[in-house]
């Protein structure tokens, strides 16, 4: 059944596997006349790229997108835009031994049960490799937001690794430069150092470690999102949970609301200049499913990488007990490379709702 399309008015459809020819996205719903060239994609793709630092997988991919359709003389034509990103560093021998075993924490077993067939090379469609074209789509989405005249800043960073928690009092003030100053993408330099140490330790113990990424989208005007099923938090929540390894998503105060009183948690409305804003931002920028104009705050929990070099118990595809140690090239911690991926999906959702809200503004 179809499940490879996302979005209503800005719509992306993807295809591709970890160890096939590459990955592909068709973007539909793009206004005409937006300048777009290969260079526009490189910064975001580079931030996602494998092999970017000592704490990521050593798979090496150039990730140069090919703009196959939908562009004419450097501008979008309004037609569907197809972007292809080749898989270059494909070493299938790494994965051969997992053909007959189910890796713990992976989709091998569920894919086999669902389809009765499985592309075992690097996880096939279940690999995080598919996110490469989501990042490309995110670049396009940001162009759309800019095209409609909005100055929206979407920044993610590593909030927590293990029990090391970054102290970032105002995420709306963090810039990409702040984030990119270290390989763990944590603007709290002190915490960053400890995080890197912890990741290295986990890796040296042939293990992996989990964490939390935090995102902030500032500059989103009030009024985006649809009130019932397509609430902005619902579409953002789906976008985030559609990413591999995400086990939790929260907005604003998130799970902390459980211990709060309404009188504490309610954000008081005040007037600031000509704008109505809230004094605090426990609500995380969305009220009733609709953006309030305050920064949108999202946190995602990411499980520790399932692929670990140490030996684990498991079963063969026939159900026989065995052990496995995953020898492929994997990130010991998923959070640093998740940051640009999460940012991209937020951009995709915002571009969709930007277009959706645009029709509310009448006039020929």
């Amino acid at each position: 059944m179809p499940g490879n399309t996302f979005g209503h008015s800005f719509r992306i459809t993807t295809a591709g596997e970890s160890h096939g020819y590459g990955n592909l996205v068709i973007i539909d719903g793009l206004p005409a006349g937006i300048p777009l060239e290969v260079d526009d994609f490189l910064c975001d793709l580079k931030r996602r790229r494998p092999g970017q630092s000592s704490i990521t997988t050593q798979r090496h991919e150039e990730d140069i997108p090919q703009l196959l359709t939908g562009i004419f003389e450097g501008k979008t034509t309004g037609s569907s835009l197809a972007i292809f990103i080749e898989n270059k560093d494909v070493r299938s021998f790494d994965y051969k031994d997992i053909k007959h075993k189910y890796r713990p924490g992976h989709a091998d077993f569920t894919f086999d049960t669902k389809y009765g067939i499985r592309d075992y090379r690097g996880g096939g469609r279940s690999s995080a490799r598919e996110t490469v074209v989501r990042v490309a789509a995110g670049t396009v989405a940001k162009k759309v937001l800019h095209y409609y005249g909005y100055k929206i800043k979407i920044t993610g960073f590593t909030k927590q690794i293990g029990s090391i928690i970054a102290h970032i009092p105002n995420p709306a003030k963090i810039s990409t430069v702040d984030i990119e100053q270290n390989i763990v993408r944590c603007p709290d330099t002190n915490a960053a150092g400890k995080m890197i140490e912890l990741i290295n330790q986990a890796r040296s113990e042939r293990d992996s470690i989990g964490g939390i990424a935090e995102f902030c989208a500032s500059g989103v005007p009030p009024g985006w999102g649809e009130p019932v099923f397509d609430k902005l938090k619902a579409d953002l929540g789906k976008a985030m949970f559609s990413l591999p390894a995400v086990t939790g998503v929260e907005f604003g105060a998130g799970f902390a609301v459980a211990a709060r009183r309404g009188s504490q948690n309610n954000d008081v409305f005040i007037q600031k200049g000509k704008k109505i804003i809230t004094e605090t931002n426990n609500h995380g920028g969305i009220l009733g499913g609709i953006s309030s104009g305050m920064p949108i705050i999202i946190r995602c929990a990411l499980k520790p990488t399932s692929s670990i070099p140490q030996e684990q118990q498991t079963v063969t595809t026939k159900g026989k007990q065995t052990t496995i140690s995953t020898k492929g090239r994997h990130d010991p911690c998923l959070v640093p490379r998740f940051v640009p991926i999460g940012e991209a999906m937020i951009a995709v959702v915002l571009a969709d709702h930007c277009i959706r809200q645009h029709v509310q503004m009448k006039k020929k």
Copy 2:
């Protein structure tokens, strides 16, 4: 822009406001031949009903659904099924004073900004009143699961209120009877007593309190969910975040994964009888976006009710500073009545993916 439809193959479309004539759902994609009558709905609707106990709003609604279409001689016909639930206890005078003020934590401001017009009577479309037809849709969804031969049990309960946390070691063993034994819907009787006390205390202080609901869907076979955007966790996540007041959603170990190692968090596959299962369930029943056959575990954080009787700072619709105290009839804590609503949305998502996976099974 459309935003009132949910689902691909089992699809619900809703309409309705808090203080209009009532609420309505059209269910499309229903197989023919499923027995269905008004009585089937009463149990679920009664559990959601306002005025059910001393710790809920005292609005009184009978909530008897009218099956307007799609039924013939007591069975579904395969046509779209429309269910209407009237609003009976509508006291508009309660809400009149909020016409010109923005209630903190509510959608008044965002609706005004989005639409330039607002049905201020009880929150209009932003009211949780709209969930009444979601619960009705959930009843139908459970019938669909049963029609396809699955014995799936979906149970929710109150996991946390304030800092009182229920101890429920195995949610898959909890029955509806266990849940319904107290008004706070917490099967840990000891915790339940403290929770009720805490809610009553919050109310007596003219305040409200937040909490967490936990859900378990057991009996879901492996193989449901689509690998990329329509992952089972993505669709469930969207479903939950589409509900009012939900600020966080997590699956399995959820946010706790942040502090874990892969070796701890990975669930080992074992064979049990003829089935392959996992020894533990940190993954919460979904791997790679596809059900694993293990119980699906979801937790939702609910903010404290925004409407509180105590006076709060806010602004008028013109931006002038003022105060407001919300006098309507409100739940001091949203979690107990959220339980049946969350269960319903889980059923709706599962029915959709049950049908979607059904096509994978070939043969004329």
Copy 3:
């Protein structure tokens, strides 16, 4: 599987049967602030109404719509709008004898085969009764077009009954007054008289007769429609073929193009004032799937009513040979009442594409 929803940005979802409680439409994607009241619907619904003249079915329905949701103080709120139209004149005894027989030309056999169950009362969901809410949706669609500032005139008329063909050289000049001047809805008075005669003759012979309706939508600006699958002619074609009894649809020169040369059929572009138009309109207002600004011309062939009082051969639901004579209340010719129904569906498609094109116009 879902099949009761139509449209992308202006979206209608319907439910209802011929002899159930009534019919229902939920309209989603409606901008807020459009004035709307029951009176707005009456003119269109009256034109569709059964029992309106001597050449239609004598079933009597008031068809007063109930606006259940989505309206506040006389204006649309931006929420989903639900409209219910009751079935009042339901005489089930008329249909009882068809429970065990398949009426030739009807959906009895195909419904039974598809669903294994059939609401035999008046055709259930397959009855043209379901179009009553399409006409109501058409009224709302026309309001949307007006809201966006377009003056679009959509008029249909009876072009042909049997071999009587109306001579209407310029359909864009025909007004509703012209059309409504006779009960067959043919503005060519001379032809109209002969058509009425022919219909009466068919009825007196306990038979029915087919015909063609022609529609013209003028005032549609150039630029509406999407280039590939959602071409304006594709969506209009689907809309028309989704109506009961339609066996053919053509645009502009239609089937006549088969016998033409390109040099004859191509419409030459010329400038008229500041506009670029075509000198002739063989293309029927759509080029490359996109409106050209010229009047959109659509013709629909309608088969003779399948229900006829004279005895016909058929089989029972068990396959046994038998005869049937349909005794219900039926139109001897479907075209006159089809006119307002076709107009409504054109309005629904145009409202959708109006909104879709609106996003192309940038600016905050």
Copy 4:
């Protein structure tokens, strides 16, 4: 706005232009385990290929599809399948002079008005070149029908060119061999000769000519199609009207019903063996929007090619009067190459409804 996706359960999304890198389709909703290789596509693509005979365009394209994703070890994996077909014979100089003029009958003017930008090289997205990937999708769709165990034969042929009408009393008996025996794809050999002559004559007069293609899908079981908006005839109608140059579509008796009585047009049900069939097939295989088990008969009118070498009046993009003679490589008659394209779209619709009906058949 999105408009490049078609289908509900078997869904295709396309991208590509006439003179860009190539054309692309992502097919979503494909069951896993269907054998598929490049060779499977060649026959259908060859039948569509430009340059195939003396009466088609002399553009030369190999049209070898690249299966980029969704295949593993020669079988579909259940993931989205991407197919890319390169444009090789691209001579942009042919089109340069149309940059500033609007070709009569083409989408140049409407694209410019819609988007404010136009890929003028060979019509860009509006070129019939985009149908190449529809034909590839049709090949996959036929595999799906076969996978579910259906033996469905979809055959199209040239029914009419100019005023030459082929006499094919039973289209269900026509085979692909019959169709392919001459370059005009007309199984009535006598008519075929005259048609070829007529096309050659039109071309020698620097003109083009229209025609009608007829299609027959036999072996479709009763029960496919959804009763209201997604009637089988509605989805087939949309599919056909989504193809370039189609100005009319009719099913079964089509426009001829206008002159008929119900008693003539109704198809009598009879029992044949264990099946219930109709004695005649005026209804063209669809009743109430649902397949009846009888052959589905569709006819499409195709306008004469808009691009003709002879000089025509038109305007520049600034509205100034001028003349144009289209010098590109064009078919003088579109019908012969339309045959495999129409067949493909029918296959796509049937695969979608095959899957959709499949869910009606319950059981784990």
